[in-house]
């Protein structure tokens, strides 16, 4: 049957969903509506290789317009400002109306903003999209002292990149460790050491009282009365799902759009995937919202299958990475629900991993090491988690014993 399928949101989840739908359905119209006038592109390099000039804009696109054309997937740059779920219509700012039979919402997430005086609103920069990355890249080229507010993944990756561009970088974090939302303190402390060794200043446990601007120089007053002078401020203080469009509708929202394990929302024929979705994970038996590359891709693919009528449960084990200096940090599963922690390795050069177990099964793991050193073990850990395997703790804790011995074939 030929349907009108609309994908609202032109990011990674959206493009992967579109291509997956086409794999299973050669007839339906597939249209992606994107807010940015750009084909879907990879975001991870924006804070790293793009700032460092190792990758340019052309390297970031997932697929060329040729691929989309060949697969008969339309992409339109348009801002939707009203949704009528009852009559299955989307309304654009320019009064255009889009009717759908099935809708996928993949609007992603947006940066939380600092509450600042009006005269400083345009002085603090954020990094989520290509335009912002370009702006930051251009401005930092003639600034020396840079302050980053927020010690999460994005702030630290920018700090690492700017340090490599010979900038004097200060990171201010409100919590008592870096990356505190999801990374165990032991690992965060090792990453912190790496930043300090490279010359970055890390300030923990401090709140910002006031920012003032004098002659193009910013003064940041902290709650211990210390003052930081800086030429440029970037903030990375978390994100929220992009759901404003749906706030006065029947769509069930709770930290994003609530979906089941089939990417279905509370409204029939409306699906959600990627950062915007608070989805039910059958293995962890709870809802969760993830902001990661792997999730955007796999959740998009899963939504695509379900929209095309191939009923598919989403049970992918969460996985994410961060690259800072010569370190690669990886996280798999969920590390906040455990009754035992097991350590593997004790040296960042060979990589070290903390496993989080519950009832002798791995629920999650977090590792860090020189690039390449933890990936294989983290990947095997994902497989062990997925298969709900009862693990031999001796093998887990001994870096000389290969983890793939634990995989039951």
């Amino acid at each position: 049957m030929k349907n009108n399928i609309i994908i609202l949101g032109g990011g990674q989840a959206g493009i992967y969903a579109a291509r997956e739908i086409r794999q299973n359905d050669s007839e339906s119209n597939i249209k992606i509506l994107g807010e940015e006038n750009l084909l879907p592109y990879e975001r991870p390099p924006l804070s790293k290789d793009f700032l460092l000039d190792k990758k340019n804009e052309e390297d970031l696109y997932f697929h060329s317009s040729e691929v989309l054309k060949n697969e008969n997937i339309e992409f339109e740059n348009i801002l939707i400002n009203k949704v009528d779920f009852e009559n299955k219509k989307l309304f654009a700012k320019n009064d255009d109306v889009y009717s759908y039979d099935s809708l996928l919402i993949s609007t992603g997430s947006e940066n939380k903003k600092l509450s600042l005086d009006d005269n400083l609103k345009n002085d603090v920069y954020y990094l989520r999209n290509l335009e912002e990355a370009k702006k930051i890249k251009e401005i930092v080229s003639n600034k020396n002292k840079i302050t980053i507010i927020g010690g999460g993944f994005i702030g630290l990756e920018i700090a690492s990149s700017l340090c490599q561009l010979q900038k004097k970088v200060t990171v201010i974090e409100i919590g008592n460790q870096l990356m505190g939302r999801i990374i165990p303190k032991q690992i965060a402390d090792l990453v912190q050491n790496a930043h300090i060794e490279h010359g970055n200043e890390i300030i923990l446990n401090k709140q910002i009282e006031k920012i003032t601007k004098k002659n193009g120089i910013y003064e940041i007053l902290l709650n211990d009365n210390s003052l930081i002078e800086t030429n440029f401020i970037i903030a990375g203080i978390g994100s929220t799902p992009s759901v404003k469009l749906f706030e006065n509708t029947n769509l069930k929202l709770d930290n994003g759009i609530v979906t089941n394990q089939f990417c279905e929302t509370s409204i029939k024929d409306v699906y959600a995937a990627g950062d915007v979705s608070n989805f039910y994970h059958p293995l962890y038996e709870r809802n969760m919202r993830l902001e990661s590359y792997q999730h955007a891709q796999n959740h998009g693919i899963c939504a695509g299958k379900n929209i095309a009528g191939v009923k598919t449960e989403y049970s992918s084990i969460p996985w994410m990475w961060s690259d800072q200096f010569n370190l690669n940090l990886q996280l798999t599963g969920i590390c906040d629900d455990y009754d035992e922690i097991i350590e593997r390795g004790n040296d960042i050069n060979n990589g070290l991993i903390y496993f989080f177990l519950k009832k002798n099964k791995i629920r999650g793991a977090c590792g860090v090491g020189i690039i390449g050193k933890v990936g294989r073990d983290i990947r095997i850990t994902s497989k062990l988690t997925e298969k709900d395997t009862i693990v031999d703790k001796q093998i887990l804790s001994d870096q000389n014993l290969k983890l793939n011995k634990l995989i039951q074939k």
Partner: protein, 105 residues
């Protein structure tokens, strides 16, 4: 096919089954794999970012990059899963007298 292009990698016992070793020759680096049906060779560096695949995971006919989980088919070099999108170069392999050789062009 001239004989001198075949470079000795090592003995067939130097690789466990469903595993790989790194092999450096002149200024190039390779991965040599032992799969259930024989030996294979590819370039050593992931086509996505400059990380060596020696620390990657071999599963069936696939090698997965340890940095960002890009996946390649070991036999064809085909990039199977993003973020890898560029194929990995493969090289012919032969076994002679229990020794592995790869043909480098």
């Amino acid at each position: 096919m001239s004989e001198e292009n075949w470079i000795e990698v090592g003995s067939i016992d130097s690789i466990e089954e469903e595993d790989l070793i790194r092999f450096d020759h002149q200024d190039k680096t390779f991965c040599v794999y032992k799969l259930t049906d024989g030996f294979y060779a590819t370039d050593g560096i992931c086509t996505h970012e400059a990380v060596h695949l020696e620390d990657g995971l071999v599963m069936d006919d696939e090698i997965e990059c340890p940095m960002h989980q890009g996946i390649f088919n070991i036999k064809s070099g085909e990039a199977l899963s993003p973020p890898a999108c560029e194929d990995l170069k493969t090289y012919p392999v032969k076994v002679d007298n229990d020794k592995i050789f790869i043909k480098i062009d």
